[in-house]
C-alpha cells in the first residue's frame, strides 16, 4: 500500500491513456450492439414488479392498525419505493433505456417517487455530477455543498455539526437532494435567471405537494375510511368507530413515514458509498483541464467505488454497487454492469490502475469515519489500495451474478 495520493493517471504514458480510451469505448459499443429483448424484458419486469409490490404494500396498510399488517405493509412499501428510486427512477432518467424507443420508459418522460423534479435532478446529477465527477469545486455532489468529505476542502466551524446533520440527511435524503438540485451556489453567483429559479421552485413545490398528499393524506385517509366502513356493519357511526378510524389514519401515516425513511437511509448509504470511501480519488480543476477521453475514463474509474453483494443486493441498490461501471458508462442499462465488471477489472490489471471495491459495511464504515473525522480541522487523504492485482488474493472476488457471454474472455 502506498500513502501518496498521486493521480493514477500520472503513471501512464499518453499512448496508454489513449489506448485506455479506445478500450473503454470499444467495450461500450460491444454492449450497445448486443442490447435486445433480454434487457427490455428485464426493465419491464422490474417496473411491473414495483407496481405490484407498491399496490400490495398499500393494500396491506389499509389494515395498518393491526400490528402484523403494519409490519408487512411497511416492509413491502419500503421495498417498492427502494426499487422505484434506485433500479427504475435513477436509471431510466439516466437514459439507460432510451435505446428502446419506448415513449414512456424514457429519460425525457419519466418522473419518480421523490421530492426532486425530474428536470432539476437530471441537471444536477446527470450533467453536473457525472460530467465533473470528483473535481473539487465543480462536482457539487462532493459533500453536497454542506459537508466536508475531502481533506482538501477548507474547514469551517459549521462542519463540526456535520455528523449530526448527516443523520438528519439520511432520514430526509429525498428532500435534501431536492434542495441540493436547486444549486444555491449557482443562485448566489447569479448563474441562474430569476425565471429559472422561480420555475424550479414551483416545480419543487408541485412535487412536494403531490408527495405529501399521497403518502401523508390520501392513503391514511383511505385506511381510516376502510376501517370505519368495515366496522360500520355492527351498528351506527359512534365514537368508537371514529376512534378506530383515527387510529388507522395514524398507523398508515406512520407506515408511510417509515417507508420513506427506510428508502431514504438506503439511498443515502448506497450513494455515499459510491464516492466517499477511502479508496476514491478527488481531482483539482487544473489536473482535469483539457482532459482526453482516456483520462476522463480513468478519472471516472478511480473516483468511484463499488460495493460487493449478491444479485438481490445489486437490484435493490439500482446496480450502484457497480458504481465504477456506472460512472464509466452512465447510460448503459444497469443489468449490464455486473456483466462487464470482469472486463473492467481486466483492463485495470493490465494498466496498473486501481479498481475500488469492498463489502458494504466496510465501505459504509469508512464513509462514516470520514464524516466524523473531517468535521474537525485537518485530516489527510487516506491511503489508497494501489493498482488492481487480479482477482486472486483480492477481496474483489465477489462472484458476479449473471455471467454473460461478455464475461467469457476474463
Amino acid at each position: 500500500m502506498t500513502t501518496d495520493i498521486e493521480n493514477p493517471l500520472q503513471g501512464l504514458s499518453p499512448e496508454q491513456v489513449q489506448a485506455i480510451g479506445r478500450e473503454f469505448d470499444q467495450l461500450h459499443d460491444e454492449v450497445f450492439e448486443e442490447l435486445g429483448d433480454r434487457d427490455a424484458a428485464y426493465i419491464r419486469g422490474i417496473i411491473a414488479l414495483h407496481r405490484r409490490l407498491g399496490l400490495l404494500g398499500r393494500v396491506l396498510l389499509l389494515g395498518s392498525s393491526r400490528g402484523p399488517l403494519w409490519l408487512a405493509g411497511t416492509a413491502t412499501l419500503s421495498l417498492a419505493k427502494i426499487l422505484e428510486n434506485m433500479e427504475i427512477g435513477h436509471n431510466v432518467m439516466h437514459g439507460q433505456w432510451d435505446w428502446m424507443n419506448d415513449p414512456v420508459i424514457n429519460s425525457s418522460a419519466w418522473d419518480w417517487d421523490s421530492a426532486s423534479t425530474a428536470e432539476a435532478w437530471k441537471h444536477s446529477h446527470n450533467y453536473v455530477h457525472h460530467t465533473y465527477t470528483n473535481i473539487r469545486g465543480k462536482d457539487k455532489d462532493l459533500g453536497y455543498e454542506i459537508m466536508r468529505i475531502d481533506p482538501l476542502q477548507k474547514w469551517h466551524p459549521v462542519y463540526l455539526a456535520q455528523p449530526l446533520y448527516n443523520l438528519v440527511l439520511m432520514a430526509l435524503f429525498e428532500w435534501g437532494v431536492a434542495l441540493h438540485d436547486l444549486d444555491f451556489d449557482a443562485i448566489r453567483a447569479g448563474e441562474k435567471s430569476k425565471s429559472q429559479v422561480k420555475r424550479e421552485l414551483k416545480g419543487m413545490a408541485g412535487k412536494a405537494k403531490d408527495q405529501i398528499v399521497k403518502d401523508y393524506v390520501a392513503w391514511p385517509l383511505l385506511s381510516a375510511l376502510v376501517m370505519v366502513a368495515a366496522e360500520r356493519g355492527a351498528g351506527a357511526l359512534d365514537g368508537d368507530k371514529l376512534r378506530s378510524g383515527r387510529r388507522s389514519f395514524r398507523s398508515t401515516l406512520w407506515a408511510d413515514v417509515t417507508a420513506n425513511i427506510v428508502r431514504n437511509v438506503w439511498a443515502h448509504a448506497i450513494i455515499f458509498c459510491g464516492h466517499f470511501p477511502d479508496q476514491t480519488y478527488t481531482f483539482s480543476q487544473e489536473e482535469t483541464s483539457d482532459e482526453s477521453r482516456g483520462a476522463r475514463y480513468v478519472r471516472q474509474l478511480v473516483g468511484a467505488a463499488n460495493i460487493e453483494g449478491g444479485p438481490l443486493f445489486h437490484v435493490i441498490s439500482g446496480n450502484l454497487g457497480y458504481q465504477v461501471e456506472h460512472h464509466l458508462y452512465p447510460d448503459m442499462p444497469s443489468t449490464r454492469y455486473g456483466e462487464i465488471a470482469p472486463r473492467v477489472r481486466e483492463i485495470c490489471e493490465r494498466y496498473g490502475l486501481p479498481y475500488n471495491t469492498g463489502p458494504f459495511f466496510r465501505q459504509w464504515g469508512m464513509v462514516q469515519r470520514t464524516i466524523v473525522r473531517l468535521a474537525f480541522p485537518g485530516g489527510k487523504p487516506r491511503p489508497k489500495p494501489g493498482p488492481y492485482r487480479g482477482d486472486e488474493g483480492s477481496r474483489a472476488t465477489t462472484p458476479d451474478h449473471d455471467i454473460a457471454p461478455l464475461a467469457a474472455s476474463s
Binding site: 427490455a40 415513449p103 424514457n106 418522460a109 435567471s193 429559472q196 403531490d210 399521497k214
Partner: protein
C-alpha cells in the same frame, strides 16, 4: 375523479396500475392487441387488431402507424387500414406484405402471434372517398397498393354503394392477388362492381392507353389510384394530358419521411419552458436543434409518429420535413422531430 385517484398514484397514473391487468387500458399511449393473423397470399398477411378504448376510428383510405417491439426496440411503420370502419367486432385490420430484408414486415407476417401488443400511432391520410359519394368510381391499384382501396370497397359494400364501380388491379400472378377471393365475391354479389385483374406475369403491365378499352368512360369517373411510383407517374401524366386531373386522387404508397423535400430557410428556435435557444439550418428538426443546444426535450420515435415530442407553437411557422409543407398557427401542437423552423419560432418546451 381521475384527479382524485391520481393523488394516490402520483407520479404514476392510475392506468399504470390498470395496465397490469390489461395493457389496452392505458391512456399514456394507444395500444392494440393482435387478435389473429390471416394469410392472404404466400407473402402477405392481414393482421386483425383490437384497439384500446381511446381509438377514435378511421376513414376508408387512411393509414395507421404501428409500433412493434423487435429485439427490445420499438420500430414504427405506416400501413393502410384495410378494414371497413363499420366492422361490427370493433377490430381494425392492416395487411402487410413481407419484405424479406425488412425489419417489421417479417415480424408481423412470419413471426406475429395472436395476443401480442402493438402500439398505435395516429391515423393519417387524405386519400379519402368524397362526401357525398360520386356516381361513378374508378379504382386502379397494383400489388399491395390495393390495401387502402380494399377499405374503401368494403365500406362501399357495407353501405350498399357498389353501384357503378370499376376496379383495375394488377398483380404478377393470380396467387399474388391480395384479397383475391374477397374481390371475386364482391363481384358476384354486386352487379355494379366490375373487376379487371391484370396479371402482369402473362399480360404485361397496365398502361394508360389500356384505359380506353378497359374502362371507356374513365374520364367521367372519380378515379383513385394506389401503387408503385411508376404507375402513379404514368397515370398522372395521362390524366394531365387527356382527362381532368382534378378527378384523380392518389396514394403515394408508404409516406416518405425525409424524402426529396427541398430545404426550408431554417431559423432560431426559442424554447420557452427551458428558456434557451437553438438554431436550425432548415433541414435540422427542432428536436435535434434543441438537443444540440443542450436542451432536454421529450422524444420518442423521432419519425413523426408517436407524438411524444410535441410542443405548442407560440409564434412563427414550421416546415414539415416529410412533405415540405409550411404551416403553423399560434397554439398549434407541432412534432419537433419532423419539423424545422421556417423563420424564427417560439415553442413551449
Amino acid at each position: 375523479m381521475l384527479r382524485a385517484v391520481s393523488a394516490f398514484t402520483s407520479p404514476l397514473l392510475p392506468d399504470d396500475y390498470l395496465e397490469l391487468i390489461n395493457p389496452l387500458w392505458s391512456t399514456r399511449e394507444l395500444r392494440g392487441r393482435i387478435e389473429s393473423i390471416e394469410r392472404e397470399t404466400p407473402d402477405a398477411a392481414t393482421v386483425v387488431i383490437r384497439p384500446g378504448y381511446e381509438w377514435r376510428g378511421h376513414q376508408p383510405g387512411q393509414y395507421l402507424r404501428v409500433g412493434v417491439d423487435i429485439d427490445g426496440r420499438r420500430h414504427w411503420r405506416a400501413y393502410s387500414l384495410t378494414s371497413d370502419p363499420g366492422r361490427p367486432d370493433g377490430c381494425i385490420t392492416i395487411t402487410v406484405k413481407n419484405v424479406d430484408d425488412g425489419k417489421v414486415s417479417p415480424h408481423l407476417v412470419r413471426r406475429g402471434r395472436p395476443g401480442s401488443i402493438v402500439s398505435l400511432g395516429g391515423v393519417e391520410g387524405t386519400f379519402l372517398l368524397p362526401d357525398p359519394l360520386p356516381d361513378k368510381l374508378l379504382f386502379i391499384s397494383a400489388g399491395s397498393g390495393v390495401t387502402p382501396i380494399m377499405s374503401m370497397l368494403r365500406s362501399l359494400a357495407h353501405r350498399d354503394a357498389l353501384t357503378d364501380v370499376v376496379h383495375l388491379h394488377s398483380a404478377r400472378t393470380a396467387d399474388e392477388v391480395i384479397f383475391g377471393s374477397e374481390l371475386h365475391e364482391l363481384r358476384e354479389r354486386h352487379p355494379g362492381f366490375r373487376l379487371h385483374e391484370q396479371l402482369t406475369g402473362e399480360m404485361g403491365r397496365l398502361v394508360p392507353t389500356d384505359l380506353d378499352e378497359l374502362c371507356p368512360d374513365w374520364r367521367d369517373r372519380e378515379a383513385f389510384l394506389s401503387g408503385p411510383g411508376e404507375l402513379l407517374d404514368a397515370m398522372t401524366e395521362h390524366w394531365d394530358r387527356e382527362g381532368d386531373p382534378g378527378r384523380l386522387h392518389m396514394e403515394r404508397f408508404q409516406p416518405i419521411i425525409g424524402g426529396d423535400v427541398e430545404e426550408g430557410e431554417g431559423g432560431t428556435i426559442r424554447f420557452l419552458a427551458s428558456d434557451s435557444e437553438g438554431q436550425s439550418d432548415g433541414g435540422t428538426p427542432i428536436l435535434v436543434a434543441g438537443e444540440n443546444a443542450g436542451v432536454d426535450l421529450p422524444y420518442g420515435c423521432r419519425e413523426g409518429i408517436c407524438h411524444t415530442c410535441v410542443g405548442e407553437l407560440c409564434s412563427g411557422q414550421v416546415r414539415d420535413l416529410r412533405t415540405g409543407k409550411v404551416y403553423g398557427q399560434d397554439g398549434e401542437m407541432v412534432r419537433t422531430c419532423v419539423s424545422a423552423p421556417e423563420g424564427p419560432v417560439e415553442i413551449k418546451l
